[in-house]
Amino acid sequence: MNNFWRSTRAILHKDLRTEFRSREFFGHTFMFALLVIVIFNFAFKINAQNGPLLASGILWISFLFAGTLGLGRSFMVEKENDCVQGLALSPVDRSAVFVAKFLGNLVFLVMMQAMILPAFIVLYNLNVMENFLMQTVVFLLGDVGFMTLGTLIAAMSVNLKAREILLPVLLLPLLTPLLIFAAGATSSLVAGDDPSVYLSRIKFLAAFDVIFFVVSALVFEYIMDEL
């Protein structure tokens, strides 16, 4: 195993271990996402006509809000005892730190989604996972784009005094295109639209992921210098 993947695995393993001990990220984000879908369920009158469109948007908003809540913690743990300097001093490519943090955040988001989806299907009486394979692809592509930008902005905002406010303020506008296409693709799949409709949205999500992942991994080295 080369240096890059060995250090990525070490950081990921460390983050998963500390999270499974504290359950802070997972517990808080799951509860928040659950509250969002419950509140929206009371706020909107969902029926067979508006169901696919509204419910898909609500689902993705719950993922984005809850995921953003948890993102801040991924770098806060490194500020404890200045551990981020320990990472910066290690003889590893700094993009390995980015990839490990990204993968850790992705794992927690996917776990949270796996718990939220059954609750959502029961509450909204709408099986969003009917086209299981394609819907899983949409969720994964949306998650990758979300966590790529989320990990980068979380690192940039970790030293700011008002980081809890600034993280969503900086991140959510950048995620707007992703939200539009991810919710659109989910909605098309639930409504049973022609494959060309959701496939074009899936292509956009894939392009978004590739562009932002490459850019984020490249600029992360300079962000590490300022942490």
Binding site: S7, V77, N81, C83, Q85, G86, L89, S90, P91, D225
Partner: protein, 234 residues
């Protein structure tokens, strides 16, 4: 350039309009123990961060072991001990060391971690979380962390901060043993008698500039204190 030498030439660092370092030249030979003094805000930590590869100079060059201090190869030969431990509170002592061994590509991380825990007399607490450690124990573990890859260059930033007398004495003897093993050491401290007695050379920074740099052989703490007051002011 000598692969065992630390050298910076014309190093300046700006934070916005503030000049933290102004045209600093400094070289530390293999096996030297340089202690860096200066009032708060003199630029000591900034210089140390540049030499460790944790920050980039605005201008000038910082070389460690014949290469840019930012290169990953050189970072693997550097150990840093600060008043911050760089240890994870939610991991045990053993887990912290194994993590850093993996980050430095050390073969057999478990065995190396056990060996280091033994050397800092913390084997009996290896499965305890760092959050349960006293300041002295945390600092001993921090030394073990800095030594995972058996570095050639050791940088210390006020490592005695918050240590009780017993821990300070133990830390000092470990530091002395490392220096005797041929490690090149640079330490920042405000403790003049301790710094002068431990070092082979002393330098003073003031206002981002180096104002003094001489061997400490035969120099008493009192004599150096007078020099310090003259160069750096009260």
């Amino acid at each position: 350039m000598d692969k065992r030498r630390i050298e910076c030439r014309g190093v300046s660092k700006k934070y916005g309009d503030f000049d933290a370092l102004k045209d600093v030249d400094l070289s530390i030979d293999e096996g030297d123990f340089l202690v860096l003094f200066g009032p708060n805000g003199a630029g000591k930590t900034t210089l140390l961060k540049i030499l460790c590869g944790m920050a980039r100079p605005t201008s000038g060059t910082a070389m460690v072991g014949g290469a840019d201090s930012h290169s990953p190869e050189i970072r693997g030969k550097i150990g840093v001990i600060s008043h911050k431990s760089y240890l994870y509170d939610s991991l045990t002592a053993q887990e912290n060391l194994v993590f850093y061994c993996e980050m430095y590509g050390v073969a057999n991380p478990g065995a190396r971690a056990a060996e280091l825990l033994e050397s800092v007399e913390l084997s009996h607490r290896k499965n305890d979380f760092v959050r349960a450690f006293s300041r002295g124990m945390t600092q001993r573990l921090s030394i073990a962390r800095a030594l995972v890859a058996d570095p050639d260059f050791i940088f210390l930033d006020e490592p005695f901060t918050g240590l009780d007398h017993h821990s300070a004495v133990m830390f000092q003897s470990m530091l002395s043993a490392l220096h005797k093993r041929g490690k090149t050491v640079m330490m920042i401290t405000h403790d003049i008698p301790l710094g002068v007695s431990a070092s082979t050379r002393a330098a003073i920074l003031k206002g981002g500039r180096k104002v003094f740099d001489e061997p400490t052989k035969g120099m008493s703490g009192e004599k150096f204190m007078a020099t310090y007051l003259e160069k750096a002011g009260k």
